[in-house]
């Protein structure tokens, strides 16, 4: 009895052997290829997941994984080439929208394809160290669409133009920008950096160089600093809305360098409007703004401190020479104390109670006494 059972057991095992010849593989592959076409044409509802999964499973199981993988690459590439043609054909402003729409389509199709080919992803790919399906999809998109000669430059120039328009005051479609930028980030951070961030920073530097030149010709220090602060905050806000958060540091460096660092000496020493005048006229708000902006650039604060110190010594010298004329020691001491009070206040309110400034102030007054 048990012998018979064992024999049955063996026979059943043989039953599971399916015919393993290339024609079989061809047939299965054409079913899957057809399915991929349908998926890209938004026609998936007629398909049975199970049937496709089973076909992919059988192909890999019977050692036709190679054929499946290379077939996938070929089919996807062909579809992406078609897609990139349709994106190229889009006119003007619709270019970005079309790109965005096709990208969403591609992502959805990619996920579906990956689900059907899950078995291959799990077994064939780790064994042969090939790229997994999802990553493969992103790479093929990058190579055939983003880096296609007609699309690459057009994409970049459209993005930069929109940002330029926003800087000159126009309202742009931020949601669309966010999606496109996110697409670049998804494909790979190197793509984001090379294809977008680097040119973006260069163009921005040029923009701010010109703008700061224009402003410095016509504005006094207080106004210039106001404008610089507005631009800086604008850039930060732009990053939070649709750029990669890592770009914030880079773009703020650009603005700081072009608008502040390059013009620092001129701003401080401007006739009738420079730092010294701000001290004399008790321009607390301007001083605070200057402090906040200059602390962002290298040497910003140390130069400010030096100017303050030399100015204090000037005041002190004046007081001393005056006092000799007045011959009134009480008056002299009073005025000295008044000056010290005033600058204590300035440091407190406008300079954030910065210890280094406090020390500079104290040492200046010691020098006087």
């Amino acid at each position: 009895m048990s012998n018979q059972k064992k024999r049955n057991f063996h026979i059943e095992a043989f039953k599971h052997r399916v015919v393993v010849d290339p024609k079989y593989a061809e047939k299965i592959w054409s079913i899957l290829e057809h399915a991929i076409h349908e998926i890209y044409n938004h026609n998936a509802s007629g398909l049975s997941f199970e049937e496709l999964y089973r076909n992919a499973y059988n192909m890999v199981l019977h050692k036709f994984g190679e054929k499946l993988y290379s077939g996938l690459v070929t089919t996807m590439t062909a579809h992406l080439k078609e897609i990139s043609k349709s994106i190229e054909a889009a006119q003007g402003g619709l270019f970005l929208e079309e790109l965005n729409r096709k990208w969403n389509d591609h992502n959805k199709a990619l996920q579906m394809i990956r689900d059907i080919l899950m078995y291959m992803d799990r077994t064939y790919i780790p064994n042969t160290h090939k790229t997994p399906v999802h990553e493969l999809g992103l790479n093929l998109w990058r190579d055939n669409v983003i880096h296609s000669s007609k699309i690459q430059s057009r994409l970049l120039s459209m993005l930069l133009e929109l940002i330029h328009r926003e800087r000159t005051g126009e309202v742009i479609d931020r949601g669309l920008m966010r999606n496109i930028i996110k697409m670049l980030m998804d494909i790979g951070s190197s793509v984001y950096q090379e294809d977008f961030e680097k040119p973006f920073l260069e163009v921005s530097a040029e923009f701010y160089r010109r703008e700061s030149q224009k402003f410095i010709e016509c504005c006094d220090t207080g106004d210039y600093l106001k404008k610089a602060e507005i631009r800086l905050n604008e850039e930060i806000e732009r990053v939070t809305h649709f750029l990669d958060v890592k770009s914030e540091v880079n773009i703020t460096n650009v603005v700081e360098k072009e608008m502040i660092a390059n013009h620092m000496m001129r701003l401080i020493h401007m006739e009738n409007y420079g730092l010294v005048n701000m001290f004399l006229d008790d321009k607390y708000e301007d001083l605070e703004r200057m402090y906040n902006l200059f602390r962002r650039v290298p040497n910003g604060l140390s130069i400010t401190r030096d100017v303050m110190t030399s100015h204090l010594r000037e005041i002190g010298k004046q007081l001393v020479t005056d006092a000799e004329k007045l011959k009134d020691p009480v008056e002299f001491v009073q005025r000295l104390l008044d000056e010290k009070d005033k600058y204590d206040n300035i440091i407190n309110q406008a300079f954030c109670n910065d210890k280094t400034f406090q020390n500079a102030l104290n040492s200046s007054f010691e020098y006087l006494t």
Binding site: K5, F49, Y53
Partner: protein
């Protein structure tokens, strides 16, 4: 059992097994089938046909799903597998990624 929480698994012979979605999701394959963004026929009707899995094996698999849920909730019993089923069961498990 509410209609929305269940899924129907159909064997090669046409025998239907209605089980909770939670139990069926133990199979990665079934989980993908039901959560795939595509709009494949399975997600529409909430039923999956397995033309290569026999009723006997499919039944055992459903029993396994429930046993697994019970086991993870603390009821530690044994799951008995008849030896003549092991090969087919293993192949089905490989297919279903369970």
């Amino acid at each position: 059992m509410k209609k929305e929480e269940t899924v129907k698994l159909i064997s090669a012979e046409g025998m239907e097994f209605v089980i909770d979605k939670e139990a069926a999701m133990l199979s990665q394959t079934i989980r993908n089938m039901l959560t795939s963004p595509g709009g494949f026929a399975e997600t529409e009707h909430g039923e999956v046909t397995f033309p290569e899995i026999s009723a006997l094996i499919l039944e055992k698999i459903c029993q396994y799903f429930y046993w697994n849920l019970q086991y993870s909730r603390g009821k530690e019993t044994e799951f008995h597998i008849e030896p003549e089923l092991t090969l087919e069961l293993m192949m089905a498990a490989n297919y279903l990624h369970t």
